[in-house]
């Protein structure tokens, strides 16, 4: 079994807000992330897949194909977008790094031929990242 990781980058705006709470409660819990005008990050995505090496091609997956899948399923939907307003899954979920990792798992899972999705890692910044392994 080989683990293979492909990176991609996207730049997006977001803010944290729970409509069920008062503005004061949102401010208390989310701090400056609750600024309704939003703010943004350069996100780095790492998608790790697991699989056996094809004896003919020497590949676990075709990296170009994986790159195209990430571009089509994630980057084209997230890059230079406001996550809260323009990405459907964040109409109902707050676009935290944890929820972005879970959302990307759902977008990519079962779309990669010949390999199993192992981990989605999302860096909001170099010192903060979330991992999702598909666990319930």
């Amino acid at each position: 079994m080989i683990f293979l990781t492909r990176k991609a980058e996207f730049s997006s705006a977001h803010f944290y807000w729970n409509d069920a709470w008062s503005p004061e409660e949102n401010q208390r819990v989310f701090g400056k992330c609750a600024n309704r005008n939003g703010h943004g990050h350069n996100y780095t995505l790492e998608v790790t897949v697991a699989g056996e090496v094809d004896p003919v091609s020497g590949f676990v997956v075709d990296l170009k194909e994986l790159k195209d899948i990430l571009e089509r399923e994630v980057v084209s939907a997230y890059d230079h977008r406001h996550l809260n307003f323009e990405v459907p899954e964040f109409k109902t979920a707050i676009p935290t790094t944890e929820n972005i990792a879970i959302a990307i798992w759902k977008r990519v899972d079962n779309k990669i031929p010949h390999a199993k999705l192992h981990r989605v890692r999302v860096y909001e910044m170099p010192d903060l990242f979330a991992d999702y392994y598909g666990e319930p």
Partner: protein, 142 residues
């Protein structure tokens, strides 16, 4: 759904690798230039990995501001710009990054808002250490 959250912190400290269990020659042989009597220093990076269910109300494993406040008061204020050998935790143990990782694991076990998965400490860009308590980390999680 269960997710993992990792946060990196940075501090700078000096130390000297030395044990009273060895004589001077053995200390020099084992620890080399790290045994320099006047000590030396590093820019350490500490990466804390926590896991837990993502709270539907916040979208978070735990509140990052609470984690940062904990790290500030329990880690950085004790370790940053200090000589590690002068700290209580290294009175009887050598201030290697292995022992530092174990000590930092003990500290973050007291942060109870999420489950502590692992402590990863980089002494330099070429040396890093991981400690997950007594149990081995789950396959593929490092």
């Amino acid at each position: 759904m269960k997710a993992h959250l990792s946060r990196r912190y940075h501090f700078s400290a000096s130390h000297r690798l030395h044990t009273e269990s060895y004589d001077a020659a053995q200390n020099t042989t084992v620890f080399g230039k790290c045994n320099n009597p006047h000590g030396h220093g590093h820019n350490y990076t500490v990466q804390i990995t926590l896991s837990g269910q993502v709270d539907p109300a916040t979208g978070m494993v735990c509140n990052l501001a609470e984690l940062d406040a904990f790290a500030q008061t329990k880690l950085l204020e004790h370790f940053d710009h200090t000589n590690l050998n002068m700290l209580d935790c290294f009175r009887d143990t050598v201030s290697t990054t292995e022992n530092l990782s174990i000590e930092i694991y003990r500290i973050f076990q007291r942060f109870t808002a999420a489950h502590l998965e692992r402590v990863h400490v980089e002494e330099t860009s070429n040396n890093s250490f991981d400690y997950s308590g007594d149990s081995a980390p789950a396959p593929g999680t490092i």
